[in-house]
């Protein structure tokens, strides 16, 4: 493979960027402090700025910042906007409509008045920012009899474990922070820390509603962790690796070829993985506490479940990070079963470097985001059209239906992985 076809990854890009900036700074310092001038000792600083260890360290900082801004700001706002717009349309109304022309200060309000632009008939993307600003202004209240230390620890646990997911979650071949051999296990381990934080939050607020919500969350999340992991085991029989990028690449074999376009064989197109997909999808909806399984915060029964007593930005951050978990969950569904960033590929016959040139029809990131948003829309669609499931029914579904189904998926997947090639390549 020639070099220019290899996608750059996030760390190399940010190292390149940081290297350039530090080189310019260092050249400037060396220029204003020539040898023999009174500020000659600055030359040491100039040489030190381009040291490899400093560049590497700053490159990691920049890469982490890029990932956090991308995931926890841009994607979070987009997902919340999609959800609010979509369920408003399901309920036959317009939904949020705050736009840039609604801002009540100088350039925007002046321009809107002058051009007779409607001030509250936009796309509504800024509504979530307005809500966030409102929450920042509010007071952080700690209940009088709450266990203060634990009450303040719980959001930290939830938020940090959710952000840890994005250390290993790839958005494309190169758009990933750390590409480690066990990244899938890392993501699932980071997923499983949040129930502890939820229980601590529910117990420490000293409120019967939040305690009931926390206990329900514990029962539900622990019950659905098991089918989730078992369904992942069925995928591992096919991929043979725990690396997320390796799992995506194992789905690259062509399923069908229409002219020059070949469609990759995603995991969902095989029988055992389809069973696994059903189990995983239901379990991930339950893990995210979306509506058919949202008894931990059933608004009609418990005020707001385990986050009743939180207020101000502490509430905002715990509430908002649920969408981040939804993003991670939809991304996991896409990576494990829907082929990740692999879409139809246009194969050119021009031989470059001995192999036919395969060009993806859309860039990898766009494929990935399209699929993630589609999965997310399906989740939103489900959660705004079905009623809530009772707690005993939830546990029945988890323990009596999903776990046997996941075990069946493992058995069939193991059978096909062992004897599939003998039976004519069935997978």
């Amino acid at each position: 493979m020639s070099d220019f076809l290899v996608a750059p990854n996030l760390f190399t890009l940010s190292k390149e960027l940081v290297g350039w900036i530090l080189k310019i700074l260092s050249d400037g310092i060396l220029a204003i402090a020539p040898v023999g001038s009174p500020v000659e000792p600055l030359r040491g600083l100039g040489y030190g700025l381009v040291a490899d260890s400093l560049v590497t360290f700053l490159a990691w900082v920049v890469a982490v910042l890029i990932m956090i801004i991308w995931a926890a700001a841009i994607q979070l706002l987009t997902l919340m906007w999609i959800e609010r717009k979509f369920y408003s349309r399901l309920q036959d109304r317009y939904g949020i409509m705050i736009s840039i022309w609604s801002l009540p200060f100088w350039p925007f309000s002046w321009w809107a008045r002058r051009k007779h632009k409607p001030t509250h008939r936009g796309l509504g993307y800024l509504q979530n920012i307005a809500d966030g600003v409102k929450l920042i202004q509010k007071e952080n209240i700690t209940p009088a009899l709450a266990d203060s230390a634990m009450f303040h620890t719980a959001p930290v646990l939830i938020v940090s474990s959710t952000l840890m997911i994005f250390a290993a979650l790839p958005f494309s071949d190169g758009f990933v922070l750390a590409n480690m051999p066990l990244s899938l296990l890392f993501i699932l381990a980071a997923f499983s820390i949040a129930p502890l934080g939820i229980l601590i939050a529910g117990w420490s607020s000293n409120n019967k509603y939040s305690l009931i919500g926390g206990m329900r969350a514990a029962a539900q999340l622990m019950a659905y962790e098991i089918p989730l992991l078992l369904a992942v085991v069925a995928v591992l029989f096919y991929s043979g690796t725990l690396n997320v990028i390796g799992i995506v690449n194992s789905q690259a074999a062509p399923l069908a070829t229409i002219g020059p376009i070949s469609i990759p064989k995603w995991n969902i197109f095989s029988i055992p993985q389809f069973i696994g997909f059903t189990v995983f999808f239901v379990a991930i909806i339950a893990e995210m506490e979306r509506i058919p399984f949202d008894i931990p915060e059933a608004e009609a029964e418990l005020v707001e479940g385990w986050l009743t007593e939180y207020s101000g930005m502490r509430f905002g951050i715990v509430f908002g990070f649920k969408w981040l978990r939804v993003l991670a969950g939809s991304a996991l569904v896409v990576i494990l079963y829907l082929g990740g960033w692999l879409g139809p590929v246009w194969t050119l016959n021009a031989n470059i470097g001995g192999a036919a040139l395969a060009i993806p029809i859309l860039p990898q990131e766009i494929w990935f985001l399209l699929k993630v948003y589609t999965v997310f829309l399906v989740i939103v669609w489900i959660s705004w059209s079905v009623p809530r499931v009772r707690i005993d029914q939830i546990l029945n579904i988890g323990w009596k239906r999903l776990i046997p189904l996941a075990l069946l998926a493992i058995l069939v997947a193991a059978f096909f992985a062992a004897f599939g090639s003998a039976l004519g390549g069935i997978r």
Binding site: L145, D147, M150, T153, M180, P181, L182, L185, F186, L188, A189, S192, I193, P195, L196, L199, I200, W203, S204, N206, N207, K208, L211, M215, A218, A219, L221, M222, E225, L229
Partner: protein
């Protein structure tokens, strides 16, 4: 001067672990003890990471972070804590509301 970063990481983890394990047995509240137990177990996972045993580290977090909430639930069920203004049976309320004792429902 070369700094042995692994030694520094190990020392930090060891201090957290020792403090955490002492707190497990000295905490008055059972639920606090469970929280410190989780801290101890996760720092043990960090020590595994220093041994280059990533798989054991991740399994440690998956299994113990999954098991600790169970302990937490038992801690909540088996210990008593006042939730809101609930009065334990046999206990006289300390504060008399202004305007004398309430009438009607106790």
């Amino acid at each position: 001067m070369a700094v042995d970063w692994e030694l520094a990481a190990f020392l930090i983890l060891a201090v957290i672990e020792i403090v955490g394990s002492i707190m497990v047995v000295t905490s008055k509240k059972l639920v606090h003890a469970v929280f410190w137990l989780a801290t101890t177990l996760i720092t043990i996972g960090g020590v595994y990471l220093l041994f280059r045993a990533e798989f054991v580290f991740l399994i440690q977090i998956l299994v113990y972070a999954g098991a600790v909430p169970v302990l937490f639930v038992f801690g909540i069920i088996l210990t008593r804590r006042k939730i809101m203004e609930e009065v334990t049976p046999g206990e006289v309320p300390q504060e008399v509301p202004p305007g004398g004792p309430r009438e009607g429902n106790p």
